[in-house]
Amino acid sequence: MTPFPIDSIIELTYLIATALFVMSLKWMSSPTTARHGVWAGELGMLLAIVGTLLNRSIVDYKWVAIALVLGTIIGVPLGKVQMTAVPQRTALSHAFGACCVTLVGTAEFYLRAPAVPKFMMSVLSMEVILGSLTFTGSLMAAGKLQEILPQRPILFKGQNIVNLGMLLVAIGVAVFLVLHPDHTYLFPALLAIPLLFGVMMIIPIGGADMPTVISLLNAYAGLSASAMGFVLDSKLLIVAGALDGASGLILSVNMSKAMNRSFSNVLFGGFGQEQTVAKGGKETRPVRSASPEEAAEILAVASKVVIVPGYGMAVAQAQHKVRELYDNLTKRGIDVKFAIHPVAGRMPGHMNVLLAEADIPYDKLLDMDEINGEFPQTDVALIIGANDVTNPAARTDTTSPIFGMPILDVDKAHTVMVIKRSMAAGFAGIDNPLYYLDKTLMLFGDAKGFVGSIVRELSGSGNHG
């Protein structure tokens, strides 16, 4: 009866951690259980790290300890960023993850070189290639989202050929190294080329497309982590990487579907640029606009209101004012719901997070599919800083760049009110026929300010009445 050896204990912690990670994602399926998900994830992570620290092959804890402390110190502020900064934070953490994977891969190569078995070398190359291009790519994405770098896509002739070429060269080198691992001097190329490729890959992509790109990079990051798992023969790592990859893939597919655009269009389309070029002769048709007073009166007499938030609400940080509006209207017994388009804002679930931050109960936030049926019975559809996701052209105008993109059928409501600062176009850079309907009232102004004055009016009239 030998006692249970330490190695099997470690292996067991990894197994349990794997199970916890899967549970963690299962619990994310509903907001009621989601927090258990986080706890499960944390517990699994803790188990795995402690288990690793027990490993007898660790001879020196000094650097490990220092690094763990340092990482924590950097991590805390990254966990405290504003909700509006979440996209760039996500991009940044992809960069960190990829960085970790690439460095480990590099070290592993030089520890094993020159006698690296074929299979080992192939996963190693995959690990470092994916890792390093994800690293620079994510940094670029973060930069564009933080608006340190120019938002608009930079295009030059033959760009795609050049990029493709680089990628092929990198793969070629990898193949050569698999066959002749003794040519270790070639290895740095497996880092350098993808690092450059990562930059070139992002340059031609518009700032507003970054979310889709981030999700793709998320998938890459996951794959590289899995590859690392193959190298270190760590099943836990393989599973975690696969899960991460799957989520990145699903999110990017969702987004392109909801935008009715193909990956290639996102990656090579240079879409964001169109923002500048206005489609055809600028519209000059008249629109009806209204003041906060009028808007307030219309809302006050409504019995069912649907609020459609968009990127503008995020930019204006208007969610708290919107919450006041919601409270005021519900107090009057008006049924208020929120219509959330899958790609409203600039990242998946953007609107949900902002509105949740403003304490609006999540059962009032309805998916496009859930709410679209309700617009015909809706008295007022109040659009706050949304544009493309309400553009009827997507349904009718086959020539429109967003034709076929599923939209919120706000035009079916009795009255439509649109809060935005101007007649300017949205992300897709196209005009919105909705604004010229007779039932539509344009409420020009900053989302936060305008909603604020509506609320003031309402509470005012509330006192009179």
Binding site: R35, L78, P348, G349
Partner: protein
């Protein structure tokens, strides 16, 4: 090695299927927290980095390993932290109406 490859492939394949099946059913409400959560989980790569830095085989490996730990740990801490912060914000109505 070969055997390792094969078993690893099994694990990867099954894990990918689990991922696709499970994550397809994550409520769209939570797609932002989902991103940061998977991100934190992915940082499990830290275990590899710890071994690398701890085994102290060469200076290079130790240095790279140490940096890797820093990068991964910051993801772990930051990722879980912000995910939980976001999820805390999601509340149902006191009296949820249909």
């Amino acid at each position: 090695m070969k055997m390792d490859l094969i078993t690893s492939l099994y694990v990867f394949m099954l894990a990918a299927i689990v991922g696709l099946e499970v994550i397809r059913r994550v409520s769209p409400l939570l797609h932002t927290p989902l991103m940061s959560l998977t991100n934190a989980l992915d940082a499990i790569a830290v275990v590899g980095a710890i071994l690398l830095a701890g085994e102290h085989k060469t200076t290079l490996s130790t240095v790279l390993g140490t940096i890797a730990i820093v990068a991964a740990t910051s993801n772990v801490v930051g990722g879980f932290f912000i995910t939980d912060r976001m999820l805390k914000m999601f509340k149902a109505s006191r009296s949820p109406k249909p």
